[in-house]
């Protein structure tokens, strides 16, 4: 159980290699509870129990050293070690089991000054905004809220969504002058977001509904992730 009401973010790390977490990310995740998921990828040829037998000690040690870098007094850091053939399976299961609000996706960045928050109408809006609030409240980062409406729709509707989100974010304790927004009309929202991301250091995405194809052939959390290199968090759609 988390010590505070603050959000819990799942941070997956590959414990088959030694990759220390970025200082920037450590700082960013300071204000939330963490579940550090050390996953050890298992090839199809090998039973997970088999690799566990050979590598458990070493994997546990790596995970421990990573966790110790995340550790801090006021928020809880839990850790789990899993031997898995499919990290996505494991991320979904652990996120569920530990009631995580969001999942961290690593990427490359030097500093986190500009954060992009694409919004899909009311879906998950409350959860996304409150997580963004928690993350940036104590920092100087600026937040850009993004929303896209189909061609020919009354733009005031989109503006309504964005203004509401900005108001909520201000209530969360983020200065109004650190918040701006962008409304896009028509075109593919996915394309637009991917183009925009290049100018930002961090993205907060809402979890999408898996399509039927995703369900049959294995879900891709969100196709945007495949095309960006920026670190991100995916806010889970728990309802």
């Amino acid at each position: 159980m988390p010590l505070t009401d603050d959000a819990t973010i799942l941070v997956p790390v590959d414990v088959s290699t030694t990759e220390p977490p970025d200082q920037v990310i450590l700082d960013l995740l300071q204000p939330v509870n963490l579940v550090v998921l050390g996953y050890y990828p298992v090839p199809k040829q090998t039973a997970p129990a088999h690799l566990k037998e050979d590598h458990e000690a070493e994997a546990a040690e790596r995970l421990e050293s990573i966790v110790s870098r995340f550790a801090r007094g006021d928020h809880e850091v839990e850790d789990v070690l899993v031997f898995t053939k499919d990290r996505q399976d494991t991320i979904d299961r652990i996120a569920d089991q530990y009631d995580c609000d969001a999942v961290f996706v690593p990427g490359e960045t030097d500093a986190i000054d500009r954060i992009l928050v694409p919004l899909r109408g009311d879906v998950n809006l409350e959860r996304i905004v409150s997580l963004v609030g928690e993350l940036v409240r104590a920092s100087d980062a600026t937040v850009t809220l993004f929303h896209s409406v189909p061609q020919g729709t009354d733009p005031s509707q989109g503006e309504f969504v964005l203004r509401g989100a900005a108001d909520r974010l201000t209530e969360e304790g983020v200065d109004r002058d650190r918040i701006d927004w962008q409304l896009s009309e028509g075109g593919s929202p996915k394309r637009k977001i991917i183009d925009l991301v290049a100018d930002y250091d961090f993205v907060v995405l809402g979890e999408g509904e898996p399509s039927l194809r995703d369900r049959i052939l294995g879900a891709v959390l969100t196709p945007i992730l495949a095309e960006i290199e920026t670190p991100a968090v995916i806010v889970r759609d728990i309802e």
Binding site: P43, Q45, T46, H50, F83, G218
Partner: protein, 727 residues
């Protein structure tokens, strides 16, 4: 931090393509020729019989696999149930069986690629192509691949579509005259053909070998095994009817590529191309699954100490069991190369593989019966063969296996028995000295003995030795009731187990550690020792569960000796066991290695006689004589009278305990301060046994003041004893 978890990643669809895919695989493209030659149009009946035999095995295997959903398949269940001797036979049988099957698929692969090209002819080329295909498979598996179910699903899907199209179109081209005579070789020909085609039904076994990785195993394992066997059997029977119906069976019998020969009749060149492509994919994927399964069997054997660990070492970078894969591949290559010398290599490989698996499955049926009879605590299958079908399924399974094997060619029986002999030889050369598991046969033959039984929950490797020694001593004191039995229980605490997590493998690991730790103790003590590893959300609840199942006469628990005050007496894991266990309970705090001379407090408490008996039990550890101690306050009638009163109490307690008057010492102390006198005296002894005091009406654990002070202040070993709850 708790240990690493094991994720289950194989879903329903992947399990179906793994099992069904391997079955639809190469068998369906290569075997119709051999089958038609052996039984004519009635070969469809051979497939139905083979499918039925496989279904029986799938039923038994489903129950075992949901009871123990971990890697290893049939081998593991047979090894657990019947011990290392049969474990070795099935382990080697499955390993070589998968090699033979894989060789068979790759020869078929060569045949399909070579035949349609008229100017390339000859066995050399078939063998060469088979070897090329094999090296591809071995190479890929050496370097390792991700669980890319998409590709697998698409390939198996395409292959299935081709086979379905073949059946659907072919049905319209059946010439009824071809189906007459239906069974030219008679019943024995049909049965003999069953033996050859049984190799096609290996796929469901592959589901069992990866049981540790299947999501929601209690649902998916039985469903995919049974469904894939049923669907494939129907499909195979239809393919045979089409194949022998479109062309006379004599014409197909000569063919190495029967299905494409038939397809050309009604689907022309397009049909041939489709069939060849599907056959090639099928052969590769079936062979690939076999190599994978072989490596799993190998790992499982290494895990159970039936195989050298050298073989199952994983590659430092790729994480694959590369040695097992290379060795498996090398043997398959040899088998393929034999094709240069032996013309009937395809049938030979298929039939030897069938033999090996038939032997394995008959032992699986036996294993099921053993598990049902022994009913170990950790065996709680979520799929059970329905009562109306048990024991019909295992009995019929064994009978049919014997019938099918009896109709095999002598050379196959010789080769098959050679493989069995390999397993037997391996047992004597290697397994006997390495493996610790003795199987469940003894328990299955005499599942409920009336002998005295002591249950010892163990968790801490430092103290378990001492606990087991004491428990063995108390058990040994009851030899007159039959060979006493000691049950060491280890509880792996897992909160809220997720069906997607492989908990069974962790439990097995614990079981193994427990076995190894207790093996020496069991050897030096003259008691039967069993080990049980259980998982549960709560330690106390799980121990109580074990007590209900095992019905022990006594449960002996280790206790750190610290009293907790936050709502518990002995601690959260012990209280409810002490309170609720229907049998006698002994809580032991070990301060000293020596059990030496025990003393029991012979007082007025209801559990004094049990404490006295326990002291007598403990005395047998070092061959000492126990003392019964009573302390009296001097009354007006003087010290001698008090001493007399004490002696009366001691005799009374001893009589209730059933102790031989010659077999214990008596000590009576007269003192004003009873408690102080007791504490002074007991520390002169190595071990103290004291009864719990009266239980209150609310049935909560009551810890008498004397017992409490002894437990807290004594420097000797302390046993706190509670009698049986049954009044």
């Amino acid at each position: 931090m708790s240990g690493g978890q094991l994720e289950r990643n194989i879903g329903f669809l992947e399990a179906m393509t793994l099992g069904g895919g391997t079955m639809i695989g190469a068998g369906i493209f290569i075997l119709p020729g051999i089958a038609a030659e052996g039984a004519g149009p009635a070969s469809s009946v051979s497939f139905l019989i083979a499918g039925f035999v496989a279904l029986l095995a799938a039923l038994s295997l489903s129950e075992l696999a949901t009871g123990m959903p971990i890697a290893g398949g049939s081998y593991h269940y047979v090894n657990r149930a019947l011990g290392g001797f049969f474990g070795s036979i099935v382990g080697w049988g499955m390993w070589t069986g998968l090699m033979f099957a894989s060789g068979f698929y790759m020869i078929g692969f060569g045949q399909y690629l070579v035949e349609p090209i008229p100017f390339l002819d000859g066995r050399a080329f078939v063998v060469l192509l088979g070897l090329v295909g094999l090296s591809l498979i071995v190479g890929v598996n050496y370097y390792g691949t991700e669980e890319s179910s998409q590709l697998q699903n698409i390939m198996i899907g395409a292959e299935t579509v081709v086979v379905l199209a073949y059946v659907a179109l072919g049905l319209f081209f059946i010439d009824p005259t071809n189906l007459d005579p239906f069974a030219p070789t008679g019943p024995s020909g049909i049965i003999a053909t069953t033996g050859v085609v049984f190799v096609s039904f290996l796929g469901f076994e592959i589901i069992a070998t990866v049981a540790g990785e299947i999501k929601d195993p209690s649902r998916n394992i039985p469903l995919t095994m049974i469904l894939s066997v049923v669907l494939v059997t129907i499909l195979y029977a239809l393919v045979m009817i089409v194949t022998t119906g479109v062309l006379p069976y004599q014409a197909i019998g000569d063919s190495l590529v029967p299905v494409s020969d038939v397809a050309v009749v009604f689907a022309g060149a397009v049909g041939v191309v489709a069939i060849v492509a599907a056959a090639a994919i099928a052969a590769i994927s079936s062979s690939n699954s076999s190599v994978l399964a072989a490596a799993r069997v190998n790992f499982a054997m290494g895990r159970d100490d039936l195989m050298s660990d050298w073989l199952s070492v994983t590659h430092g970078r790729f994480g694959t069991p590369h040695r097992a894969i290379v060795v498996t591949g090398a043997v398959i290559a040899l088998l393929i190369a034999v094709g240069l010398q032996v013309e009937t290599i395809v049938a030979l490989l298929a039939e030897v593989a069938s033999f090996s698996f038939l032997v394995s499955y008959s032992l699986v049926h036996v294993a099921l019966v053993v598990f049902r009879r022994a009913d170990p605590e950790d065996y709680d299958p979520s799929f059970r063969i329905p009562d109306v079908l048990y024991p019909a399924v295992p009995v019929l399974g064994v009978i049919l296996t014997v019938v099918v094997i009896s109709q095999m060619a002598p050379i196959i029986i010789v080769l098959g028995l050679g493989i069995v002999g390999l397993g037997v030889g391996w047992y004597f050369v290697y397994v006997r000295d390495h493996a610790v598991d003795r199987g469940l046969i003894d328990e299955a033959i005499a599942p409920t003995t009336d002998a005295y039984r002591v249950l010892v929950p163990v968790a801490n490797p430092d103290t378990q030795r001492g606990l087991i020694r004491l428990a063995a001593a108390t058990a040994r004191a009851h030899t007159d009731e039959g060979t006493p039995e000691l049950v060491a229980v280890n509880v792996l605490q897992i909160e809220d187990p997720d069906p997607q997590q492989n908990v069974a493998a962790e439990r097995l690991e614990n079981q193994r550690d427990l076995l190894e730790a207790t093996r020496d103790i069991a050897a030096e003590m003259d008691v039967q020792l069993r080990t049980v590893a259980m998982t549960g959300e709560r330690v106390d609840g799980t121990i109580l569960e074990a007590i209900v199942d095992e019905e022990p006469d006594q449960v002996l628990l280790g206790w750190g000796g610290t009293l907790t005050r936050q709502g518990h007496v002995f601690g959260p894991n012990l209280d409810s066991v002490v309170e609720k266990a229907p049998c006698e309970v002994t809580l032991v705090t070990l301060h000293d290695e020596t059990i030496g001379t025990p003393v029991a407090l012979a007082g007025p408490g209801p559990h004094s006689p049990v404490a006295a008996r326990r002291a007598a039990d403990f005395a047998t550890v070092d061959g000492t004589v126990p003392t019964l101690l009573n302390v009296q306050q001097p009354m007006a009638d003087g010290e001698a009278a008090a001493r007399k009163r004490g002696e009366v109490v001691i005799e009374d307690v001893a009589e209730q305990a059933g102790l031989d008057p010659e077999a214990f010492e008596r000590e009576v102390i007269v003192d004003d301060d009873i408690e102080a006198a007791i504490l002074d005296t007991v520390n002169r002894y190595n071990t103290i046994c004291v009864g719990l005091s009266e239980r209150s009406a609310a049935s909560r654990v009551m810890f008498g003041t004397i017992a409490e002070r002894v437990s807290q202040e004594a420097t000797s070993n302390v046993g706190i004893v509670r009698g049986s709850n049954e009044s």
